[in-house]
């Protein structure tokens, strides 16, 4: 395959299990059906095959990766391949000694998520008492000499707290702060009514973030991710389908993005059955939305098509039932009215009840 399709990042979703129940969790609604199907040796082989394909960054994530008791072996194996290894965690359950072991095995970076700046509001979003413990873990991360990324998913309940979130990140000496607006797939779409902010709320938060970004330049990297519900054009989801990322689900499916296995009509192959290079290069699912042949109008003749690749396939499917549609988040999409209606709803909706992430009856096996 040409360099246009070179994976740089492997997202290893080690398990969908998680002690928390975040209302915006991006795991699929039927996550309980995807059990942990890969043994330590399988994962280590996947890491090796990915590295041979050109991957240099590894995200160990989930669910909650700490629930895998072979995480030590996986970190060690990743570092033996010289992969830049990032643990993406809620911080629970973790003791200081285990974290120190990760450090001595060569883990490069730890990303801890918090949901807000106070225990009550943070725990409300996580559906679990976790906030104080997360802060403790974040402090250990720095004490042990790791770089710390603090990740906060933004939505209408915490969007007005950006300044306090930055202050918290400074107190924790975070090296990087991700202020990532909720992406409305998975559980977040279920809870969209209670999560989607208004344009005014978003604008205040963006300005607060920009000010902090300028003030902390060179000290803390601050990333503010706009929700595409309020952008004129969509983001280049995953940098384009099958271009830069490989996601492997807990049961071993190789995917172009976290939610691709929720799209109908595509069959994803399992890393247990086939070499990653063959899946990446040849599988129908990875090739389904590469290039431009699949694109409908208005994308097909749009000059932005090489920049955003027509947006997010999962969002297109979730909102229009057609995975090959122009992302409705795009202002040029014929389905953009769906997004405008959601924005309209945000003006009147006030935060309401959440459906917490849980195995759904009928989908659990």
């Amino acid at each position: 395959m040409s360099d246009a399709y070179r994976p740089y990042t492997l997202v290893a979703e080690l398990t969908y299990r998680c002690p928390l129940r975040c209302v915006y969790c991006s795991n699929p609604l039927d996550y309980a059906r995807h059990t942990d199907g890969l043994a330590t040796a399988d994962w280590l082989r996947v890491f090796r095959e990915a590295e041979e394909l050109g991957v240099v960054q590894l995200h160990l994530t989930g669910g909650e990766p700490l629930l895998r008791d072979d995480l030590e072996a996986l970190i060690e194996g990743a570092r033996a391949l010289d992969l830049y290894t990032n643990l993406i965690t809620s911080g629970i359950p973790l003791g200081r000694e285990r974290l120190a072991r990760f450090r001595s095995l060569g883990l490069d970076n730890v990303q801890v998520s918090v949901q807000d700046v106070a225990a009550s509001s943070s725990d409300r979003i996580a559906g679990s008492r976790a906030f104080e413990r997360k802060l403790e873990v974040a402090r250990w991360v720095k004490e042990l000499g790791f770089p710390l990324t603090l990740n906060v998913v933004l939505h209408r309940e915490n969007l007005d707290h950006v300044e306090q979130i930055v202050a918290l990140a400074e107190t924790l000496s975070a090296d990087r702060l991700e202020l990532a607006n909720t992406q409305y797939v998975g559980w977040a779409l279920t809870n969209r009514r209670a999560l989607l902010p208004t344009a005014a709320e978003l604008d205040r938060a963006r300005r607060a973030s920009a000010a902090a970004h300028a003030r902390l330049r060179g000290k803390m990297e601050i990333l503010f991710v706009m929700p595409d519900y309020y952008s004129e054009f969509p983001k280049a989801c995953m940098d384009g389908w099958g271009r830069r990322f490989i996601v492997v689900s807990p049961d071993g499916l190789a995917l172009p993005c976290h939610a691709a296995h929720t799209l109908p009509g595509l069959s994803f192959e399992n890393v247990k059955d086939r070499h990653l290079e063959a899946i990446w290069g040849q599988s129908g699912a990875f090739n389904a939305f590469r290039g431009e042949a699949w694109m409908p109008e208005p994308c097909r003749s749009c000059e932005r098509r090489a920049l955003d690749f027509g947006g997010c396939r999962c969002q297109a499917y979730l909102l229009t039932k057609n995975a090959a549609a122009t992302d409705p988040a795009c202002s040029l999409s014929p389905d953009h009215g769906l997004i405008e209606a959601a924005r309209q709803e945000a003006l009147s909706a006030h935060s309401g009840d959440f459906e917490y992430r849980a195995p759904r009856p009928g989908v659990r096996k």
């Binding site: 360099d3 070179r6 740089y8 990042t9 050109g54 240099v56 960054q57 010289d82 830049y84 990032n86 490069d108 970076n109 990303q111 000499g145 790791f146 770089p147 990324t149 090296d175 990087r176 330049r217 060179g218 000290k219 803390m220 990297e221």
Partner: protein
């Protein structure tokens, strides 16, 4: 401006890695990477906190002779500024 007698050290989050596919060095950090040209790679490898900026310039000027020393110094300063701007390097006294 980075002082000539300071000792640059790569930030804890940054790590250099050779990339077989492009035969270039990459400077990797969380979620990102910079592709280094050969000069930048030579500079980055010397950012260990042991060498002063001055010493890095001397060493590379020798290696790149007959390239003028001023040119090497400009390259070093501008690459170090790029790293500092991105929080990828600290200049220690």
């Amino acid at each position: 401006m980075i002082a000539l007698d300071s000792r640059p050290r790569l930030a804890a989050k940054a790590r250099i890695r050779f990339d077989r596919k492009t035969a270039r060095y990459l400077l990797l950090y969380p979620e990102r990477g910079l592709v280094l040209n050969p000069t930048a790679a030579d500079i980055a490898k010397l950012c260990t906190g042991e060498h002063t900026v001055q010493a890095i310039v001397e060493r590379l000027a020798e290696r790149y002779a007959p390239q003028p020393r001023e040119q090497v110094e400009r390259d070093v300063m501008s690459f170090l500024a790029t790293l500092a701007e991105r929080g990828l390097m600290q200049a220690e006294p």
